[in-house]
Symmetry: C2
Subunit: 307 residues, 2 copies
């Protein structure tokens, strides 16, 4: 396939390019490389939060609002909770149907199958395709609450953290980690009891943390199901983008991202060297020895490296 | 420090050894290597599930029940949700206090700081120290619901998945991925409405999946806060261990684990080669070029590898 079809906006070509990239097909790689210099124009926004906070609905509403403003919108739904099936969250995706047929919207679901540890890079690469296609805004939705989130967030320019009241103590402790990655905080389902208290709590934690330098993360109340607060959220998101550009955060993030990318690729290439038949055979033998406690894994690793 | 102090059961030495290992101190490494041949006797059990299902309380109850049976117990609480602070979930840990002073119990909390992608190995290494100490059972509790879980679970011999009713649709979709890693399923807070329905749902999904071969994962109802169902859970856990040994799953897991360990260490050693001053300088320059779209990351990676 020709990468120019992606630039022309051929949706089939875009989907095909993404599949080739996800499968780590050599063709995917060359498309990615060809697209690289056509990227850098889209605003990539991460939307994260614990399960059940209403991420999908909010993303749907945001996409609709962005479309009203005349934008071309990309959506990447990352589902790190599904490492085996690599599948999409069908239930929630159905809600997206209303915009899926819009020629100016492209939706892609990603599982984590086959990209153990490399989910952030894959997400970034998928976003890159959408960027090259000409998306003005790319919404990257991640489900779950672990390391995968943090990795994915490193690939976005604006990170929106969604919280809801009443999720219990254990969920709230996430905030310690998540406070530091959020550029904007959303208290969704704001008609629930405890929403105002949650806003105050987040405020207090942000004041304690002060990790954001010149940008003060706003806390925005939304009711995604009723389309309430969505315009304000989009305004906040645009404002963060502008500010981040002005104070040089974006440039810094871009270089950081490049570093992660290069390291990732170097690591992959190095590990590929272990896949020769001779090395594989050696590895197998060493594994047995380690399992039988006849050798420790460090000694085994040294043997692999010295071979 | 002397690794023999760990074998003697000196708790200070155990804690020190763990810190050295977590910090990737060369001393930690040599301790780990020395302990390797003293391991392989403990039953390592993973306890996982979404936030708020009551993992900590259940682990506490299980530890108490195991102590009553005269066992030495190790507990590793992994918290992948806290990548920045590396801290423990203090609130929940307080509940553990009642057993923390027991000389036959050792509790260790782990954050994910500094072990991006290597959490599973670190967890396994911490468990190894407890194994060498002479723990009969090691309970590894993981908070969160993502890839980190699955990785950690690869390091255990029996995996217990905890579910509760009423966590909402999005949480339930986790089950697709989690079904395949569970050796035992627990429906906790079984006095809640919907618990029996959840049991039936899990049963139906297990029947659909049939990924467990000769072992049929039981579904056990518990009310951790009332100590109900805990003995049954422990019996189930022991039964799985025996069955897994008999049908050869354990041996296979052991070899698989060794493979992951060796690969991990090889990868780390290879990447360490990138840390020379010359390479670092080159990387910095290449990052700028990639960020400015003058070069794509694959070209940059090739330059790093060929240098």
């Amino acid at each position: 396939m020709d990468f120019k079809d992606v630039l022309k906006g051929n949706k089939r070509a875009i989907a095909r390019a993404m599949s080739l990239i996800e499968d780590e097909d050599p063709q995917g790689l060359s498309i990615l490389r060809a697209l690289h210099k056509h990227t850098g124009k889209a605003h990539i926004v991460g939307i994260t939060g614990a399960p059940g906070v209403g991420k999908s609905t909010l993303v749907y509403r945001m996409a609709k609002a962005l479309r009203k403003r005349g934008e071309r919108v990309g959506i990447v739904a990352v589902d790190p909770s599904s490492p085996f099936t690599g599948g999409a969250l069908l239930g929630d995706r159905i809600r997206m149907m209303g915009i899926a047929t819009d020629p100016e919207v492209f939706i892609r679901s990603m599982g984590t199958r086959g990209c153990l540890g490399g989910l952030a890079r894959k997400t970034y690469e998928i976003a890159k395709v959408l960027d090259a296609w000409g998306a003005d805004t790319i919404l990257v939705e991640t489900v779950g609450t672990g390391q995968a989130e943090v990795d994915v967030v490193q690939a976005v320019q604006t990170c929106i953290v969604i919280l809801v009241s009443g999720l219990g103590d254990e969920v709230q402790t996430f905030k310690a980690g998540i406070m530091e990655i959020g550029d904007i905080f959303v208290v969704n389902k704001a008609d629930r009891g405890g929403a105002d208290r949650l806003v105050l709590e987040v405020q207090a934690m942000l004041e304690l943390g002060q990790v954001h330098g010149k940008w003060e993360p706003p806390i925005i109340k939304t009711i995604a199901t009723e389309d309430s607060g969505v315009e304000e959220l989009i305004d906040g998101m645009k404002k963060h983008y502008e500010t981040a550009k002005e104070i040089g955060i974006l440039g810094h993030k871009c270089i950081e991202r490049a570093m992660l990318d290069i390291e990732d690729i170097v690591r992959d290439r190095m590990m590929a060297g272990l896949l020769t038949p001779g090395k594989k055979h050696l590895m197998k033998e060493l594994c047995k020895k380690v399992a039988d406690k006849k050798m420790d894994p460090y000694e085994a690793a040294e043997k692999v490296l010295c071979e």
